[in-house]
């Protein structure tokens, strides 16, 4: 039986167990590290473990994906295998959607229920006794306990950097699609051009985001400590930013693979998976732009 006809079941692999060790180092190290930071007792062991774990996981991913690319290019994967990867990536993106759903849900709950209740709406007047002067508003710039949680003095103007970032990210969804279309007609130069532009747009987006964070912290007083508005703002935009970073890495990897001559019009699921992920990141941003910045 040829390798093409049957489903490829890989032989034993060292990557998963090593990756589990790396994850252990990351998890245990991260816990030790943040506990040490909160207790103000230095960062020593925890930081070392996190760095070791991150380095190890990075190397493992290179090796593991390297194996997969190798096997794919050796023609070991048939169409059925391709479908497994497609299902895998789709459900992974669905799990990411649900991760963001938790934070969007928190935002909607706080905004439409918790804060109005704190302001005494409906029958839930207890909080009025705790903080009699509190009035409900959104964005919440005057949290109930202004000493513990000093609210921001100003908010990010959605029509400057956030709008620019929206334009950048939406355009990048187009450029990545143009790159995919170039791949489908095997126009290598165009693939590289559009993919390179996508990476660039991603990086500029991240630069603006970093600028906005610094601006928020230094000038607007919009911080993690600024009450629940700051909390929802940073958790949503922060995790989105992390996903853009990861997506940009993924784009760079497929760009390098394109440059090495990988992918052809018929076989390029690795490429497609990254475009799916990039579109997902884009869609989340549109949700953020609307519900965190504009409305």
């Amino acid at each position: 039986m040829s390798a093409h006809a049957s489903y490829y079941v890989p032989a034993q692999s060292r990557w998963p167990i090593l990756a589990s060790v790396a994850m252990f180092l990351l998890a245990f190290g991260a816990a030790t590290l943040v506990n040490a930071i909160t207790a103000e007792s230095g960062t020593g062991v925890g930081l070392m473990m996190v760095l070791a774990g991150a380095l190890m996981l990075g190397l493992i991913l290179v090796g593991w994906f390297g194996n997969v690319i190798h096997e794919s290019r050796a023609g070991l994967y048939n169409e059925q295998m391709d479908r497994s990867f497609r299902w895998g990536m789709s459900w992974f993106i669905f799990s990411e959607v649900m991760f963001f759903a938790a934070f969007f849900g928190a935002l909607f709950y706080v905004r439409t229920l918790a804060v109005p209740w704190l302001g005494g709406e409906g029958e839930r007047g207890v909080s009025q006794m705790l903080w009699p002067g509190f009035t409900a508003e959104w964005p919440l710039v005057n949290p109930p306990d202004a000493e513990k949680f000093p609210g921001p003095h100003a908010l990010v103007d959605p029509w400057h950097i956030p709008l620019l970032n929206t334009i950048l990210l939406v355009s990048s969804s187009f450029t990545v699609t143009l790159s995919h279309h170039a791949l489908l007609r095997d126009d290598r130069a165009a693939i590289v051009r559009w993919l390179g532009l996508t990476v660039l747009l991603g990086i500029v987006f991240l630069g603006f985001q970093a600028y906005e964070y610094i601006h928020a912290y230094t000038e607007l007083g919009l911080t993690l400590h600024a009450g629940v508005y700051g909390a929802t703002f940073f958790i949503l935009t922060g995790f989105h930013g992390l996903h853009v970073t990861l997506g940009t890495f993924m784009l760079i990897v497929i760009l390098l693979r394109v440059l090495k001559g990988h992918f052809d019009p018929a076989h390029h699921f690795g490429f497609e998976a990254v475009t799916w992920y990039w579109h997902f990141v884009d869609v989340v941003w549109i949700g953020l732009f609307l519900f965190v910045y504009v409305i």
């Binding site: 039986m1 390798a3 489903y7 490829y8 079941v9 890989p10 032989a11 034993q12 692999s13 060292r14 998963p16 167990i17 990756a19 589990s20 994850m23 252990f24 998890a27 245990f28 816990a31 943040v34 506990n35 909160t38 593991w64 050796a74 059925q80 497994s84 299902w87 895998g88 669905f94 799990s95 990411e96 649900m98 991760f99 759903a101 938790a102 934070f103 928190a106 709950y109 706080v110 229920l113 918790a114 704190l118 409906g122 029958e123 839930r124 705790l130 903080w131 949290p143 109930p144 306990d145 949680f149 911080t223 993690l224 400590h225 009450g227 629940v228 700051g230 909390a231 958790i235 052809d264």
Partner: protein, 529 residues
Amino acid sequence: MSTLDTAVPGLHEEHHGPAKGLGRWLFTTNHKDIGTLYLWFSLLMFLTGGVMALLIRSELFQPGLQLVEPGFFNQLTTMHGLIMVFGAVMPAFVGLANWMVPLMIGAPDMALPRMNNWSFWILPFAFAILISTLFMDGGAPNFGWTFYAPLSTTYAPPSVTYFIFSIHIMGASSIMGAINIIATILNMRAPGMTMMKLPLFVWTWLITAFLLIAVMPVLAGVVTMMLMDIHFGTSFFNAAGGGDPVLFQHVFWFFGHPEVYIMILPAFGIVSQIIPTFSRKKLFGYASMVYATASIAVLSFLVWAHHMFTVGLPLAGELFFMFATMLIAVPTGVKVFNWVATMYRGSLTFETPMLFAVAFVVLFTIGGFSGLMLAIAPVDFQYHDTYFVVAHFHYVLVPGAIFSIMAGVYYWLPKWTGHMLDERMGKLHFWLSFIGVNITFFPMHFLGLAGMPRRIPDYALQFADFNMIASIGAFIFGFSQLLFVWNVIQNIRSREAATARVWEGAQGLEWEVPSPAPYHTHTTPPKVE
């Protein structure tokens, strides 16, 4: 396009046998090896969590503080819950899925075998982190397995951070495991194995995997918000900053309620395999079973706040969640009806797996009914946080989920080891468990109705008798599980060979392969009519 690389490691080793030594288990990509690892791990966690349960029951044997510090008692209840939910029940079902799904659908292995190994090997590390908290300054998490804020944030011991990160990596393991199971079921079925021919265990797992992928990320989200509140000054669960501790409960139970079904749907699947075999009849109402399972899954997303009736929900919320919860009784009733109808006029025999399955139907139904009582919002004000709740969820989890796992293990063990079970010992284990479990948990209904609160190390004198009875039952149940361990080990060492079919009435692809199942099965897909 063929500047191809020559040396691909493992290229021509597709049909290798098991490797030698420890490496076999560390590096394996074989679904049977990984299933075995999951099952042993689950057993180890079951015994660990069980020891904690027995410590809890020893403390509660008599009123007054007897054995442990109240603070440590809280750590015990928390760790017992976490270990049993995430360490014993869930991995056991994943282990059974790993072993049986590819065999049942005619697949050569799981869809993504290396990721399968990763899903398993994260777990021992995650639980090493979790259990290590017992030895940390300030002790282990002590806020209950539901870790409500602000107990788990403002008032938590420092070890909560380790708990958060261990939940994170457990979640990653569950999500990867679930993705693998879905991809396997959707993509790896043998030709002719259409969706409506899938064995019910496979169907229930498909739906369970969907639930896992939908809610484990929400759990990750909620522990992340805790982490931010504890260490980075945010106020998600702190009203002083405009947040709300009740928000924690909403997000947690949005995960938590589907999680409950994650722990019972595969059990439905197992029982739906076993009852037809020992009734020597086809399963009654196959299609309705599939639709009932799917409806339960959909409803599970709409009922979360029935855990929060006393927290101060608006009246409309109380009513919505009450009625939505009661709706779940309909598809569940369909299932119970179908199991009973399958047995009706069947040629029944009661081998050990069947005993556990029948006990499941009866005792799970009791747990279901007490759930229906709890669903009634006005009376839940009385039952909330009492031993009635403890009785309810232990009835669905112990003689529910755990009995189904025992049933599944006894049912498929001959396929795994190639040896028949010593029926006498199996039945002894069953009867001791059955008696023990009822003595333990049935009196808790009365305790709860009389007002004994859960999660406390001491209680008023009028609760003494039932507590003593429950503790005696717990020890009967707990120690009879050693018989289970004994039975499994004896089975592995036994010489009584099993046939391929194993059970006279067994139907399905898994019974077409020899016993023990060879290391690689269905390398060429079987034809299904």
